[in-house]
Amino acid sequence: MKFSVVVFPGSNCDHDCETTLRDVMGQKVEMVWHKDTDLKGPDCVIVPGGFSYGDYLRTGAIARFSPVMKSVADFAAKGGLVMGICNGFQILCEAGLLPGALLRNRSLQFICQEIYLRLEQEKTPFTNAGKAGQVLKIPIAHGEGNYFIDAEGLKKLKDGGQVVVRYCDEKGVVGPESNPNGSLDNIAGICNEARNVFGLMPHPDRSAEGALGSADGKVFWQSLLNAGVKA
């Protein structure tokens, strides 16, 4: 399967996504500079984490105007698979490809640690290799991961089964104690109505090798490979 990883000035996890997809998952990876508009014919576009434009003004606010984002939007509109991780999730929200916004963490501190995620939806191209209710150990590393959406927006997400992953504890219990950043309803990742665009704050790119602490993030990559095969 062929992945294109978008590189903005200030992207950092472009490197992590590249090495994880190529060296760990054994896939083809193209890097796409933000000034380019040619996505190089991918099966899936990854918008990686980092600090695009230093996260200045507002996370993702400037990056969404990069020329490449128009191509990403068109690709998504045609049903192409797009996954945004961390800063990539923030960019997809700013660009309107996903609903809602990410606010400062409740603690106002950047938080880097392993947390637990509960898989809420297995019927997406990004999670089909998992089981709903499954608990994943996976790292977060962000200062603005506090997901917010207005009341009717939240209702739409829930009714449409668009809440894909939520923060939980080791046993899979979702509650305030297991909410690291204040996210509404412990939401850690969502997809769009068409289910071909997915964004999450935790880092599957950092959790595909046991030696790094956890390989649970592979679920997302494996799912994409399954989806790619079907496609």
Partner: protein
């Protein structure tokens, strides 16, 4: 040149130059300098850039070794790690700026050390930091601590470089002088190593990065004068960090170097454009000529004086290879970076600065990098004798030693630094095999079997009581941390934090402790490849404790052989390696529980230390160890407790242990004494015999203490506690105070 301003003794004094130093300038120039030239000499001859008082002492260091590719004298040291790879590393202080403006001061400190690394052609792969503050209960200290940590975090996180290790100590001596020492580590292919020298007459000198403003003017001289209330006025010296600009600079710089487009490159750190131009020229034995009018400026009407002395951050100076100038500009354009050709390399040996063609500075470049060298007077402080002769018998052994252990575990200096490192992205780049929370961090080298262990350590209290032993211990402890992780110590960098060298007692402590650092580094064959000196850490209350900090790199040929500090499984055998001892001298315990910072500093026998390292490294390579943790502050008891619960830092849960308390003499000394060259290790019972044989062969004393198991830690009949409760105390101590 006709001096526009008459140089009076007052002006010379304002520039922090002594009369004889001014005389020296007159001799060099054979004429009176103009004001701009005076400014240029004043920053280059400041302690911070010129090492006037420390250079002699630094000669004690062993800087050679068969793996050393670059020793002191460049932006960072470089050592070979095999397979065509080399590691670049260096530590630098940003104490004074952080004391004035903690967030920006610490952030720009990280920015500065990162530039030192990628300026050598190396891609930074990890950051470390060593911090010192007053007692955390003080509101003023909370403010400093919060700002410094956030500054370090925001900068490293934004750059996408993991901050993987560090240390924090809270002690009265640092209340008015916090210490912020930042270290960075980078990887470079041998063929891409580049240096900060200008050569090739006619080659273009190109300025890149942020525009030049009035910020930070005299930052360098500022860092060399004691902090007094009037430095509150020096607010113009506050520089604002721009990590996004630095990220662009880093990527562009590495692209230029790997594209083989450059002759030399140098960051603009302390003393800005002045330092970078004359250093490049003098390293290359060349001259350099620039026109300040061509320098990209942020504010209107800046004078040559201001442009030359500005310490605006995130700027670099580079010399392009002939014919590559256009290619260089293309790369910079790709990264949307300001770039301006501001001058050329000459063969005159002069640093010539023009303004729209009119010469405003013309001085021998070399003379700026060769300030006067001082041999200050020194005298041993009388108090040292008192400390040595302190009578431990005057301290009663507490009844409830479990309570004492819990108190030590909750002491911010000993307690978990999770509050700090959780704010640092320590995982980005997906190489961090051992994260903060073990003796040394371990980072793999992708595409090879190699790994690097890294740590940064120092103990100002030891040095205050016995500078020589304290200096040795700083090196030994760093090496011990590396050895506990299973890696072979490779090389070190040091940051020397002291008070005013012009005070004989301070200079005595400086010289003695540096001798200790140098002797340990020589004996253990761990060369010093670079470092930094921060003097004048003084307040109205006097000088800080002498605080030499050692940053060290260790090498794994096979990173799979790494060892972490926490117990792994029930039934494993627990050993204490090294002597037992019952002295409480110089211990954190004596200071915290009995309020006395005194006593005989632990003696360090270098050959004993070396043998311990051999055993730890060889057993790790042979796969005999389940865990290894060195005994440092808090002694054996704290080392055992941490071995029980520090697995939590890696989501690996915790373990109990039932052990005997070895040795004779006072119980508190046996539990909390800080005898050196010791470690607590655990072994699978099946490998215990083999391990004991290895220890015997190397002549390392070993005590079988007991075994891993249960959910309590029991040490003889002196200590019994619930590991869960101890862990909560340890992990939340700093959170609680900061809440």
């Amino acid at each position: 040149m006709s001096p526009t301003v008459e140089i009076t003794p007052e002006i010379v004094k304002e520039h922090g130059l002594k009369p004889d130093e001014y005389e020296r300038i007159l001799k060099i120039l054979g004429r009176q300098p103009n004001l701009t030239e005076l400014g240029v000499y004043s920053v280059m001859w400041s302690e911070h850039c010129g090492y006037k008082h420390s250079k002699e002492v630094l000669r004690k260091f062993t800087t050679q070794g068969d793996k050393v590719l670059q020793g002191p004298g460049e932006n960072a040291g470089i050592m070979d790690i095999g397979e065509g790879w080399a590691v670049a590393f260096k530590v630098e202080s940003h104490n004074h700026p952080s004391a004035v403006e903690p967030y920006q001061g610490a952030a720009t400190g990280v920015g500065g050390i990162l530039r030192d690394i990628f300026t050598m052609g190396a891609r930074p792969i990890a950051n470390l930091n060593s911090l010192r503050f007053g007692p955390l209960a003080l509101p003023k200290v909370k403010h400093l601590f919060t700002g410094v940590v956030k500054g370090i975090a925001d900068y490293g996180n934004c750059m996408g470089i993991p901050t993987v290790a560090g240390e924090v100590v809270f002690d009265e001596t640092y209340t008015d002088n916090c210490l912020v020492n930042a270290m960075s580590v980078g990887l470079v292919r041998h063929e891409h190593i580049i240096r900060g020298k200008a050569s090739g007459v006619g080659n273009a000198v190109i300025y890149i990065g942020a525009t030049t403003g009035r910020d930070g003017i005299h930052g360098a001289t500022f860092a060399s004068t004691e902090i007094s209330d009037e430095s509150q006025e020096k607010r113009s010296a506050v520089q604002v960090a721009d990590p996004f600009m630095e990220k662009l600079l880093m990527e562009a710089t590495l692209e230029l170097i790997q594209g083989d487009l450059l002759v030399g490159i140098q960051d603009m750190g302390a003393a800005g454009l002045t330092c970078s131009t004359c250093e490049m020229a003098s390293r290359g034995g060349a001259g350099i000529e620039i026109d300040v009018a061509k320098v990209p400026q942020r504010e209107g009407g800046m004078t040559p004086y201001e442009i030359l002395l500005s310490e605006s951050q995130e700027r670099m100076l580079l010399v392009a290879k002939p014919g590559c100038e256009q290619k260089v500009h293309d790369v910079l354009a790709k990264w949307d970076l300001h770039a301006a050709t501001i001058g050329k390399v000459t063969d005159t040996g002069l640093m010539v600065v023009k303004e729209k063609g009119k010469t405003v500075v013309e001085v021998p470049a070399q003379s700026l990098t060769e300030p006067p060298i001082y041999h200050p007077a020194k005298s041993e402080p009388a108090i040292l004798k008192k400390h040595r002769e302190f009578d431990e018998a005057s301290i009663a052994v507490p009844k409830d030693l479990t309570a004492v252990l819990l108190r030590l575990l909750a002491d911010p200096t000993i307690a978990s630094k999770r509050w700090v490192y959780r704010q640092y992205d320590h995982m980005v780049r997906t190489n961090t095999y051992v994260r903060p929370g073990s003796d040394a961090a371990v980072v793999r080298v992708k595409g090879t079997a190699l790994g690097l262990a890294m740590t940064i350590d120092g103990n100002g209290a030891y040095c205050a009581l016995d500078p020589y032993e304290g200096g040795k211990i700083a090196v030994a402890e760093a090496a011990r941390n590396i050895a506990c992780s299973g890696a072979e110590p490779l090389g070190m960098t040091d940051c020397l934090n002291y008070g005013s060298p012009e005070k004989p007692e301070v200079f005595y402590m400086f010289e003695r402790s540096v001798s200790g650092v140098a002797d340990a580094s020589a004996f253990l064959k761990i060369p010093v490849t670079g470092g930094n000196v921060s003097l004048y850490n003084e307040s109205p209350q006097g000088a800080i404790d002498p605080t030499p900090i050692v940053g060290m790199i260790g090498l794994f040929k096979d990173v799979q052989k790494r060892v972490t500090q926490w117990f792994k499984k029930d039934g494993d055998v627990i050993y204490l390696l090294g002597a037992v001892g019952d002295s409480i001298g110089a211990s954190r315990y004596l200071h915290l529980v009995h309020g006395q910072k005194t006593g005989l500093c632990p003696r360090l026998v270098l050959d004993t230390e070396r043998k311990l390292h051999r055993l730890l490294i060889e057993s790790a390579q042979a796969g005999l160890l389940q865990s290894a943790h060195d005994c440092s502050e808090g002694g054996l008891a704290v080392a055992l407790a941490e071995s029980c619960f520090s697995g939590l830092s890696h989501e690996e849960g915790m373990k109990g242990a039932k052990v005997s308390l070895p040795g004779l003499g006072r119980l508190d000394g046996r539990l909390f004494g800080e005898a050196q060259s010791r470690a607590v290790v655990s072994c699978d019972p099946g490998k215990a015999a083999q391990f004991e044989a290895a220890a015997a062969k190397l002549g390392v004393p070993l005590e079988k203490l007991g075994s891993v198991g249960g959910d309590e830690l029991q040490i003889g009949d002196a200590v019994k506690l619930s590991v869960r409760e101890a862990a909560d105390l340890f992990n939340n101590a700093i959170e609680k105070i900061m809440a």
